[in-house]
Structures are given as C-alpha cells and as structure tokens.
C-alpha cells in the first residue's frame, strides 16, 4: 500500500535525522537537503538508498540531482512508489 505524503515526509525526516542529526521537526517540505539540512552530496546518496528501501521505490542516479528539497523527494517518491 502506497504511503501518503505525510507518511513520506515523516519517513524522510527520520532518515535525515539518522544521517545528519537534524531534528525530525525541522525536516519540512520547503527545506533544501544541502543548504538547510546539512546533507552533503555523499550523505544524499545515503538518504536516497534509505528512502528506496523504506518506500520500495527506485531512484536512479540521474534523478537524484533534481531532488533539491524534501518536497521534491516526497513528490518523486509518491509518484514512483509501487
């Protein structure tokens, strides 16, 4: 069963908290991974791999560069999850 956007954002918040130590409540739709959440390009790979496992979705490397904000990622996951 597909996750709702709310569930996806909550899941991303847990992942970002685990990887970058940012409090889950600070992980909001408009936040940039790089500029606001201390997720550098290497850590972004970890976020993507964790999100793929959690939401059963494939995020090809070429698409990762378009995921600038939490909202970008949440939309991508909502659209592509099986």
């Amino acid at each position: 069963m597909a996750a709702t956007q709310e569930e996806i954002v909550a899941g991303l918040a847990e992942i970002v908290n685990e990887i970058a130590g940012i409090p889950t409540e600070d992980v909001q739709l408009d936040k940039s991974f790089t500029d606001d959440l201390d997720v550098d390009s290497l850590s972004m790979v970890e976020v993507v791999v964790a999100a793929e496992e959690r939401f059963d979705v494939k995020i090809p490397d070429d698409d990762v560069k378009n995921l600038k904000t939490v909202g970008d990622a949440a939309d991508y996951i909502a659209k592509h999850q099986s």
Binding site: I19, G21, S43, E46, E52
Partner: protein, 420 residues
C-alpha cells in the same frame, strides 16, 4: 619568513588510549603502572590464536555525535578527540581564525597512522558481499584513506598551511611529529597539530600479525602479556588510540603568553635498508638515527636523562635498540632512565609515536619517568638502566629525553625534547 632555524616548543597535549580518555588519565595510569590490556570478549575473537589487546578506555562514540562519527573511521575519531584536547590544552578557544589567536594560513596538521582505515575497508567489503552494491557507504573512500585523520583534524581546526600524513608503519606517529617540527623550524607554519593514531583491532590484522609470529599469545594473562626486557617476552600486544601534541614556534608561543611544556629539539631519522620486517640485528640503522639526531641538532648526550623506548616486547627488537643506544651514547647511556610504556598501553602501531611523545613530554615536565611493568626476570642482555616497577624521579636542571619509534620497512625515528 626569513628565519629557517626557529626554536620549536610543545604547548599542548592530548590523548585517548587504553589507559584513559585523555592525557591526564593516561599519564596517571602510566605512573601507577597499570596495564591497559584486556581479553577480547567480542564474538569474532573467540577462535583467534590471539585474544588480547589494549582496547580504548573511552569509546569515541561517547564523545563524537553520531552524525559526525558515522562518517569517520575509528582511527580518525581517536585523532579528532586527541587533537581537540591538545588544542584546548594549548589555550586556543575555537578553530584557527576569528575564534583563536592563530592565522589559519600559518597552522598545519600532520597526523599519521600505520595502516589507515582498515576496519572501514574490511567492514564495507563485508557489506558489499552480504548486502550488495547499493549498500556500500558513499563515505567509504574518505573514511579509509590514510590521510583521513589528518584531513579531518585540519578541517576541524581550520589548518591551511599544509596537512600531511607520513606513513612508515610503527614509526608513522613519530615521523609525523618530526615532519611538524621541520614545518615550524623552516618557517612554513607557526603552529602544527601533530601526532599519530591507530584503530586496527579487527580479526584480519590480528591474525596477520599473529601469523608473522610477531604477537604475544599469552591469552591466559592479558595484563602480563606485554613484557619488554623480560626474559619471557614473546611478542607485542596490539593497542589502539591516539596521541597528539601542539607544536609551535617559540616566538609565537611567547607572543601569546602560552604555557610551554618543553622544547622539541628535533629528530634523527634513518633507514635500515636491510629487511622488510626484521630489524637489522647489528642495530646500525637505529644507531645512525641517534647519531643523526646528535649531528643535526644541538642536543648534548650529557643532557639526556630519559628515553621512552620503542621496546615492543619482541625478543630481538628490545635488545637491538639498547645496543644501538649504547653504541652511540657510550657511558652517557648510564644516566638515561629507560621506560617501555608499551608494557602498559600495548603497541599502538602508528599511534605509538604520538602517545609516547605525550608521555615523554609529561615525563620531562613533571621530572618523573614512568615504570616498565611485567619485568619479572630482566634480560641480562638489557645493558641499560631500565625503570622497573615504580616511577623514577628525574634530575633538576636542563634535561632532555628521547622518544624512539621504529617501523616495518626499516624506518627509524628518534625524537628529542628538552626542558625550557
């Protein structure tokens, strides 16, 4: 910078070792003659021929927050903890620049390890085999590269004068400190964070060293296993941890009113060019290093009252070192109190030169040499004044001490420090 022969001093020290989580507790353990060696109770150690090691007293993950720790190999975690302690001890508030009185362009970092991020490398290979390509951490390369501890310390404290990592097996930490002394002496930097670190307590290095017949297999008596100069010594005991010092030009230290521990007089370096792992039995390479130290610095043999020996508790190595010291120093070796602190910490490989420099600096500053423990029957070939059992007071006046480190590959590094 016109001056090319500036005086270099030590203004800060830091350590995390099997004896304690900082320099003070490590020193206290050394003076008390306490062994930091224990049984490896991890599941992976159960069937190994060697099941003892000097494991870190305070886990680095208790200090470094998890988001940062998970991007650092254990060796870099140790180095960061020791470097931050040394930095604070030197009286600096925050990183170089606005927060402390050091110009970042005049601050260097030279932290070495013998093996680098070996546990990261092996753990990630396990991940690759067991969980697949996608799960291998993107941080693997920056974690396992041997320059990672130095680079991470350099970033943490804002060092821009140069960040270096000399690699010479068990001489690495000492070579790093020697390199740092030269950076300041020749005018490349005013302050350098220098030392060594190692984190190699993992089944593969333990089995590999064990198969070389280099390690003690006294699993029944962990605390008595590291016994330099004892007739029954049968190999080294692996330790982990880091020791880091702050080196500074005397001019820079005095201008900011820093506390000066000792002068870093300089180094003597040589290579055996003999065998990749066996020390030259004549000790000529080590003797040449000591001779180079005397020829290339203003150190006087009469000043030397203490030596923190390399002495790893191997049958050949311990005696070869003493023979080399005798060859160069002659009767002047009679007034040198020789301590083998590896009897308590184990052998920290590339971290040894860092931790033992911290011990040497504190021995001079406090005028007391730490003991060598576990000598029940002194090897009659140990032709030197070995400090046994209890600490030994060192004389008044201007005194100097040596810190020896030698590494597989035939690397010989002898550092010298002197009271100010």
């Amino acid at each position: 910078m016109n001056s090319t022969n500036r005086t270099v001093v030590v203004t800060g020290i830091g350590a995390t070792t099997p004896l304690g989580g900082d320099a003070a507790s490590t020193w206290e353990g050394l003076l008390a003659g306490r062994s930091g060696i224990s049984l490896l109770e991890q599941e992976w150690a159960a069937d190994l021929p060697v099941r003892i090691a000097g494991q870190i007293a305070v886990e680095p993950t208790e200090i470094i927050p998890r988001p940062q720790a998970r991007k650092l190999d254990r060796s870099a975690q140790f180095a960061l903890i020791a470097a931050r302690e040394a930095w604070q001890d030197a009286g600096f508030a925050g990183p170089a620049g606005e927060e402390s009185s050091v110009d970042p362009d005049r601050l260097g970092a030279v932290i070495a390890s013998g093996i680098g991020g070996v546990t990261t490398l092996l753990d990630q290979y396990d991940v690759l085999k067991e969980k697949g390509v996608r799960r291998v951490s993107p941080h693997t390369v920056p974690m396992l590269m041997p320059n990672s501890p130095s680079a991470n310390v350099g970033i943490d404290l804002n060092a821009r004068a140069g960040v270096h990592t000399p690699v010479s097996a068990c001489a690495s930490g000492a070579e790093a400190i020697g390199y740092a002394i030269e950076m300041i002496r020749t005018g490349r930097a005013d302050v350098v964070i220098a030392g060594g670190t190692e984190a190699a307590i993992h089944p593969l290095p333990i089995v590999a060293f064990g198969n070389m017949m280099a390690m003690s297999k006294n699993n029944d008596d962990p605390q008595g296993a590291s016994r330099p100069y004892d007739v029954d010594r049968n190999g080294f005991v692996l330790g982990e941890g880091s020791g880091v010092i702050i080196l500074e030009s005397e001019e820079h230290a005095k201008a900011r009113g820093a506390r000066i521990y000792v002068e870093a007089v300089g180094q003597g370096i040589s290579a055996d060019s003999h065998h990749i792992t066996q020390p030259d039995p004549s000790g000529s390479g080590i003797a040449q290093a000591v001779q180079n130290l005397l020829d290339q610095t203003d150190l006087k043999p009469a000043e030397i009252v203490h030596a923190n020996a390399h002495a790893t508790s191997t049958p050949q190595g311990d005696i070869g070192e003493l023979k080399a010291l005798r060859k160069v120093l002659g009767d002047d070796l009679n007034h040198v109190a020789v301590s083998a602190t590896k009897s308590m910490t184990g052998h920290l490989l590339g971290g040894a030169g860092g931790v033992e420099t911290v011990a040497t600096v504190l021995a001079l500053k406090n005028r007391v040499a730490p003991p060598t423990i576990n000598i029940e029957n002194l090897d009659p070939e140990a032709d030197a004044d070995i400090v046994r059992g209890e600490p030994r007071a060192l004389p008044e006046g201007t005194i100097a001490a040596l810190n020896d480190s030698f590494g597989f590959g035939g690397h010989n590094v002898v550092l010298a420090f002197r009271t100010v």
